[in-house]
């Protein structure tokens, strides 16, 4: 059975948000390694 519209929206926006959070974490870690953030 096809997934519902709400489930599809959750999956799609969830993936976009997930990649964005990975980007934020990566910026933080690179900054921490460089001594730019504590």
């Amino acid at each position: 059975m096809a997934m519902g519209q709400a489930a599809f929206a959750a999956v799609l926006w969830g993936a976009i948000l997930g990649v964005f959070l990975v980007f934020c974490y990566e910026v933080y870690v690179v900054g921490r390694d460089a001594g730019w953030v504590g």
Binding site: L12, V19, F20, E26, V29
Partner: protein
Amino acid sequence: MVATRLALGLTVAVLAGFTGVGLWYARGRIDTSEEFITARNSAREGRLTATLIASVMGVWILLAAPEAGASFGIAAVLGYAVGEAIPMVAYAKLGPRIRELIPEGHSMTEYAHARYGAAMYGFVVLVSGLYMFVFVAAELTGIARALSLVAGVPQWQTATLVGGFVLLYTGYGGLRASIFTDTIQALLVLPLLVAAAAGAVLALGGTGAVYGSVAAVDPALLDPAFAAGVQFGLALAFAITGAELLNQTWWQRIYAGTDGSTVARGFRTASVANGLVVFLAAIFGLVAVGYADVVTDITSAGYNADVALFLLLEAAFPAWVSLAVVLLALLLVMSSVDTLFNALASLVTADLPRLLAGPDDRTLRLGARALTLVVAVAAIYVSLRARSVLRLFFLADLLGAAVAVPLLAGLYSTRLTGAGALLSSLLGLGVGLTFFPDFRGLLSALPVVGGALPAADPLYLTSFAGAFLGSAGATLVAARLSSAEFDLATLSRDIRRLDEPPATDGGEVSD
């Protein structure tokens, strides 16, 4: 359509910019062949994670991943994402183990030789080399195809430009240049991907409109239990897991990390990142079906699911969005091609001291750079000549799926012998080839067995799962039946830095 001159100008600017950065960063840092192929203990967590993301996220995520989504729906999208994540999770465990057992190693092939002997070594060189070479040729084919579709750039120009510029900085700066540029590329690719995906969803009218469009064309694509989608998704998970476990790229980065715990954390973060990125890219193939005339019947002459994302771009977005995707594609292709050029060169360079009987470091550095040049020229040539890189990719995946477990089991099992590992790999390969749908004419022509072959599995699941699980099962049996006892401590004695003399059997190397 984007103007050809504009696309070419952007291409040259991006390539020249990153080449300049790579050359600048590597200047004065590459004194030895050891530095060129290993960059030992140099990458902290941020840089290591970035290169683990950028190395594997090539232009294929804009072509092959959406193709799976368009053809087989949400289940295949999930299978693709899981397939990308599993090897990273595995290497989060394997990485520290490899550093512990072989602290001065460089490549999986030197491990294969020290652990299993010459026969398994030869097989691993063939499988790993073929997989990485097909990968890099597919990347050059992919970017050439993408720019041809979006802006009408002749394919030979794109392949030569990308291959040539990347060769310049990887031939000079080796792994260090690759990791440094990977870091910048990852930090550009991730937000660009988020902006492109979010912008596309909003421009198409939101998720409700997207859902309605896809459901109107083919509701099966939105069904997580769609049988063909589940089968193809599982097949991809086995195929990618096997092939990526044989990717020399990861062995280089295991040694490039500052320590074992940094390596484990980097691979864990990359498993989440790579899984999500592939999921997002693949789901846009599914979205494309709702808005463009995507032909997913592979037997049709009009088959175009392999460019589903670009059909969506053409059908629903203005030219500037296409230009942003060109930029994304260039960043993706550079980050994976530089990695693969260096990984392929390192695969052989690490073995040169054994093959050439004590060459000096200048010879090794020259050898590594010459190998990078050979790989680059060959990859550009093949990318311009190859008719179907995808079929070669599946063959390389099958070989990887058959060899991965027998090869890596030797890091833990002391009883598995070289003959046991090789026979397990060949048994897995035999099972996989029995159901493999490509090159069927060649397989059927084999004497004795050709006529007795069962029907091939067009969705590849029996083939890839058979190769992976068959070789894994045979490995367990071979280790159980063996009475041999391999001393894993000898690995660290046999495998030394390139700038140190090799130890003699049982001997010590003085400092």
